[in-house]
Assembly symmetry: C2
Homo-oligomer: 147 residues x 2
């Protein structure tokens, strides 16, 4: 399995995984493809954002987004934040998520980050267990306000 | 009260508020000032990060950091993320936090964000109540891995 930066060619496979997700806080409206192409380009243009895919046998099997955030806390240390983690629904329990998160942790170290952080829906108990196995602590409450 | 972008002149007042915070996930080591100056400059240099202060009568009374994150979810909508929210310890219950968060919500709309998000320590029950009053939903678990 190869983990790499996404290209525009991967966009449809990524969107299929995002739109299938049943826990998305606000139900994802398929919307116009041009909105997603613009968003893809905004992510690609930003040196502190990386849209990642996992590829296996020529197919996209997972995705996530990494954001590197400078800050004053942690002695002025950077944070790596993970958003929009998805594994193809028919490929669960094959360690794809584990491999992706191990990649994230290595990438965060490479960028000199002091912390990796993410939020996951309170109802997604299996995901919380998964992240705890990787060493994450459920120390915070994630609060969202839709505008 | 004026809410504005921080300048390097505000750094010591901001650090005093950050370092006094008793809930910081990893106890903040005062460290070398040069680490914080570098971090300040990294934030200032990034068009998607804003270090904010609240000023009253010539004194810095509050601070927070805003990060604008592009993404594919929410139909390719931007997120506004709030970190490192602090109000001066001797000035609680004066609505400084409320005014700062109202400013954040307005700024997030101005930047075209679809969502405002933050995490707060699970033990900080008063903060969760505060954010709920502002319309936030405690829908997520915030997970952190210190590197």
């Amino acid at each position: 399995m190869m983990i790499r930066r996404a290209t525009l060619n991967d966009l449809d496979a990524i969107l299929a995984m995002i739109q299938r997700d049943s826990f998305t806080y606000q139900q994802e409206d398929p919307g116009g493809r041009e909105d997603y192409v613009r968003a893809f380009e905004e992510i690609a243009r930003d040196a502190n954002n990386e849209l990642i895919v996992a590829e296996r046998g020529g197919e996209i099997v997972g995705t996530l987004q990494l954001t590197f955030i400078p800050g004053l806390t942690y002695r002025g240390g950077w944070r790596a934040q993970v958003e929009a983690v998805r594994v193809r629904h028919d490929l669960r329990n094959l360690q794809i998520g584990t491999r992706m998160m191990e990649w994230v942790i290595a990438r965060a170290r490479e960028r000199g980050c002091r912390i990796v952080q993410l939020t996951t829906n309170v109802a997604r108990v299996d995901a919380q267990r998964f992240y705890k196995r990787l060493g994450f602590e459920a120390s915070h409450v994630g609060m969202k306000l839709t505008l």
